[in-house]
Symmetry: none
Subunit: 186 residues, 2 copies
Amino acid sequence: MNKAERQRRLARFLESDPFLTDEDLSQILRVSVQTIRLDRLELKIPEFKERVLTVAKNPGLSPRTLTGGEMVGEMVDLEVGSSGISILTVTPEMTLSKTRYIRGHHLFAQANSLAVAAIDAEMALTGIARVSFKRPVSCGEKVLARALIKLKKGNKYMVKVTSYVKDEIVFVGRFLIFAVAEEAIP
Amino acid sequence: MNKAERQRRLARFLESDPFLTDEDLSQILRVSVQTIRLDRLELKIPEFKERVLTVAKNPGLSPRTLTGGEMVGEMVDLEVGSSGISILTVTPEMTLSKTRYIRGHHLFAQANSLAVAAIDAEMALTGIARVSFKRPVSCGEKVLARALIKLKKGNKYMVKVTSYVKDEIVFVGRFLIFAVAEEAIP
DNA sequence: ATAAAATTAGTACCAGGTACCAAAAAACAG
DNA sequence: CTGTTTTTTGGTACCTGGTACTAATTTTAT
């Protein structure tokens, strides 16, 4: 039995029974446990604990609360180091069912990710933020966030983000952001 | 809080969410891990691995947590009008690819939705928030957020949320939240 | 104040892994 | 047949989420 054949069998076994450990599989396929591990690694099949957890936690669908991308909202303008603009269209998933108003953290997320993107740095982390929600935002509305770097001192940045619906201010936030040098990333 | 009371709470927590480890429970109930183990032993509640396995192998009786799509994180305790606790497990989608650190707005979202949930009101909106990110949080870590209503004045609430990874504070936020009467909802 | 109960701390051990390095075995090429 | 590469195996250190046990400390009750 060659490698490819063994890996196909391994995948089939785990598909039909995710509760098999590497130990089990090594006995079934008559190879060492390490070989099984390498095979799983190549096939990107997660470990036993993970497999059990996904099976256990997934009787339906996962809620997926915030978007997966690195940005919340769509970047429409960016002058790195000085300013940026992004637009977020409010979808029903972002709103509270009872009121159809957007939940505050989405506005925060838009502003925060815009502020971080505006910084001229490989990597940045938010330290402190002070935000104010001026009026509720409803489903269907388009939120335009405008970020302005107010201050730069070493690796510290003060960014002010103002968000509008039409001409109305709906959110104001001040973010203190730290740029992190690439070498500092572990 | 005495032993009997703690054990009742422990049983309730595990009934509604079998995916809590002794570590999680020790943080929720503010006792040592050893105490949790003794309690589980007395209550004859099996260990984490066992619980996950039973849930995984019996897809019928999944207790499903209070993770209504409206919450970010899993609510594990809620005393409406006074306090609440939620746990957020950091997944790769929440992190910045470059650093594997969680983006700040996820911590904000967890804290904000917990704060709003803790308010004794049909509906609540965040007005002002002041947040501070104490240290970066990495993929795989579990963030336990603890909300406490500090003040109630009419329909205004001051809620303080402190988030931990293990015993370390990673986030502190103060939220000024407005309860909205049902009739006021358009 | 003292005994009892409850809690915490610490050790050794286990399963089922990850991550990494080195050695052995098998496959293939010239 | 020898040399190189791929595949497989072995071993170590470390991790989580525990068990099992002992001992010390803290709290509560008498």
